[in-house]
């Protein structure tokens, strides 16, 4: 107990005697720990944001995209092929059992006006089931009804951001009139807030109108009856493989795809996307962590190097200490303590710098970061361990010196 107190005092004293060298020695660990903390924060932040976004879409969701076309070996992106139709959605609803709901949409960007205010936002043409499928209820008023869709009624449901832009924060817009591309719409509902997506996109910056109204009065009558995407929500996630198989069969049949030919549509399940995103984020984190760990290792070697030099330089000091009664373990403890003090101080500085850097990154680039307490505690302990590991060899070397040989050293 007392020995450790004395040893820590000794270590601090000898480190203070050479502040520049001590600082430079710790620099490797500072950079290493700083890198670990900021990289892990970045990875964790990305993962948390992805998970949140995926949860906000709903994990029971299956999305169907129009497919790709292959022209001369060059595959175009999703949506370049034959479009999906409302008929496809209806057929899915009719023929596949165990679904919670089927929805689809067409969307476009347009300007919306109310009184003197105007705002450019995304207009979504959706069927009545959309709210249920996306698990996105209204906060006030009602969502689009079947009748309103059937009659192409000029009604609109607003996302909270749009409502705030047009009517002011906290004002209930239900009953008001807005104009979309100069067509007057009556506001019948206000959605609850869904927040930002992982890519910083505001999901509440949206206006929903009946699908039929959208195709006939707002988005243009070309491609009538076609949709951008079909969304299916399953009653249970366990049904996923079965549902995907059914969907594939049905769509291949409706789109007359010959056996052996590739699908010209894509089916993505949210759980699959969540998994992919999570795996990617984890691979990313681990990669960053590996790079950061290497710099920590290099930092440790730096400490060992300086301590070895220091042992040689201070051989006489060691001899003097032994001559007045220091035992091998006192010398060992002193040098070990110096190593751990160097690395732990570097660790603390690195943690502070890492937290600072991750804040700066998220401020400057807008990427979400999440400082994980586990990473903080872990990298502190690891840096202390680096000190013990890399300090042990020089310390033992010092403690094994013969007092008279050490005294004669010059």
């Amino acid at each position: 107990m007392k020995l450790w107190l004395v040893t820590i005092r000794l270590a601090l004293r000898s480190l203070r005697r050479n502040p520049l060298r001590s600082g430079l020695t710790s620099l490797g660990v500072i950079v290493g720990v700083g890198a670990v903390i900021s990289m892990v924060s970045l990875g964790q932040g990305a993962r948390a944001a992805l998970q949140e976004q995926i949860a906000s879409v709903g994990t029971n969701m299956v999305m169907i995209f129009p497919g790709t076309t292959t022209t001369g070996g060059a595959r175009a992106g999703w949506g370049s092929g034959k479009r999906l139709t409302v008929g496809d959605a209806r057929a899915i609803e009719r023929q596949i059992e165990g679904l919670h709901g089927v929805s689809y949409h067409r969307r476009d960007v347009a300007q919306v006006q109310a009184g003197g205010a105007n705002w450019t936002t995304t207009i979504w043409g959706v069927p009545p089931g959309y709210s249920r499928v996306r698990e996105w209820p209204v906060a006030a008023g009602e969502f689009i009804s079947q009748t309103q869709n059937d009659t192409a009624a000029k009604v609109a449901v607003l996302g909270t951001s749009v409502a705030a832009q047009l009517f002011g924060e906290g004002v209930d817009p239900v009953g008001a009139t807005i104009r979309i591309k100069d067509v007057p719409f009556q506001v019948i509902g206000l959605l609850t807030s869904k927040g930002q997506s992982a890519y910083g996109q505001d999901q509440d910056d949206a206006v929903f109108i009946p699908f039929t109204t959208a195709e006939r009065k707002v988005l243009g009558t070309q491609n009538l009856g076609t949709v951008d995407m079909i969304q299916v929500s399953m009653a249970s996630q366990n049904d996923e493989p079965w549902v995907v198989e059914q969907l594939t069969d049905l769509l291949r049949q409706r789109r007359r795809i010959q056996p052996g030919q590739d699908d010209d549509f894509g089916i993505r399940t949210m759980s699959e996307m969540a998994e992919t995103a999570d795996t990617m984020a984890r691979v990313m984190s681990n990669l960053l962590l590996a790079i950061a760990s290497i710099s920590l290792l290099v930092g440790g070697i730096g400490i060992m190097n300086i301590l070895l030099v220091s042992v040689t330089e201070r051989t006489r000091e060691i001899g003097i200490r032994m001559a007045v009664g220091a035992k091998a373990r006192h010398i060992l403890a002193q040098f070990l303590c110096e190593a751990v003090t160097l690395s732990a101080a570097g660790g603390i500085a690195g943690i502070a710098i890492g937290i600072g850097v991750s804040h700066v990154i998220s401020r400057v680039s807008g990427w979400p970061t999440l400082v994980s307490p586990l990473a903080v505690v872990g990298s502190f302990l690891f840096s202390a361990a680096v000190g013990v590991f890399f300090g042990f060899y020089p310390a033992r070397k010092a403690s094994r010196l013969n007092p008279i040989a050490a005294l004669r050293h010059d």
């Binding site: 005697r17 200490r321 091998a328 008279i404």
Partner: protein, 252 residues
């Protein structure tokens, strides 16, 4: 109830009945320098009583430092017996030797061997750090030891801020701070001018007058002549043991 036999008591052999601080028999020390063996000590028989002041002289390379280092437990003998205060220390472990150096011995070197860039008080305190002296007592004891060698007020000075004589005083204070039974000094005035040497020798005599046993190596005939007892060494052995004056501490 079962009768439990009483634990057998270990009977310690009685310690050597002797007032000798140092007792050596056939002490040898052989250095291996490459292929050649250098016999620095070739069988030294020595008995030094408590309270003696012994000077060791001899030509360069005759083994004076080797003897001092062995007596000071800085080095282990190759052969022979060394009893310090009646205890055989020739076969102790390194840790046990460290304890002996810390508790029983004080060593003064020719080149002072102070910790550089370290204040006088911290240098003097050094042996106490490794002792069982309570931390709160260490500073006052170091301060008292510095005062004892006439350096009160220079506690904060580092070696470079002190003259050679003052540095040697700090080294003597460091040797005295643990109240050792024996002070070993290997040419303590070897690096000092004559006036300063006189002062340092006076300081050592003062400590001797207070009852400290001192063994000192010197090259100075005058200094040797003043000692109560003079050991002359040649080629690793003591060739002459001359008692020049009655022991100051001994009954007439």
């Amino acid at each position: 109830m079962v009768d439990v036999p009483p634990p057998r008591r270990r009977i310690e052999p009685p310690a050597t009945v002797s007032t000798a601080v140092i007792l050596t028999r056939g002490l040898t020390r052989t250095y291996q320098a490459g292929d050649v063996a250098v016999h620095a000590l070739r069988g030294v028989d020595l008995r030094i009583e408590a309270g003696e002041y012994v000077a060791v002289m001899g030509p360069s390379g005759c083994g004076k430092s080797t003897l001092m280092n062995t007596l000071g437990c800085l080095d282990s003998p190759t052969g022979g017996v060394y009893e310090l205060l009646g205890r055989d220390v020739s076969r102790l472990t390194p840790d046990e030797l460290a304890t002996v150096r810390n508790r029983t011995l004080g060593f003064v070197f020719q080149d002072f061997n102070l910790l550089p860039r370290t204040s006088a008080i911290e240098n003097v305190e050094l042996p106490l750090l490794y002792s069982s002296v309570p931390p709160a007592e260490q500073r006052p004891r170091a301060r008292a030891a510095l005062a004892r060698v006439g350096l009160a007020g220079r506690e904060a000075s580092t070696p470079t801020q002190l003259s050679g004589g003052q540095q040697q005083r700090v080294a003597i204070a460091r040797a005295l701070v643990t109240e050792p039974a024996l002070l070993l000094a290997d040419e303590p005035t070897g690096n000092l001018d004559s006036q300063t040497s006189i002062e340092i020798l006076a300081l050592l005599r003062e400590q001797h007058a207070r009852g400290l046993t001192i063994v000192m190596v010197t090259h100075d005939d005058e200094v040797g002549a003043q000692a109560e007892r003079l050991l002359l060494m040649r080629d690793g052995t003591v060739v002459e043991d001359r008692r020049q004056r009655p022991r100051s501490g001994a009954p007439a």
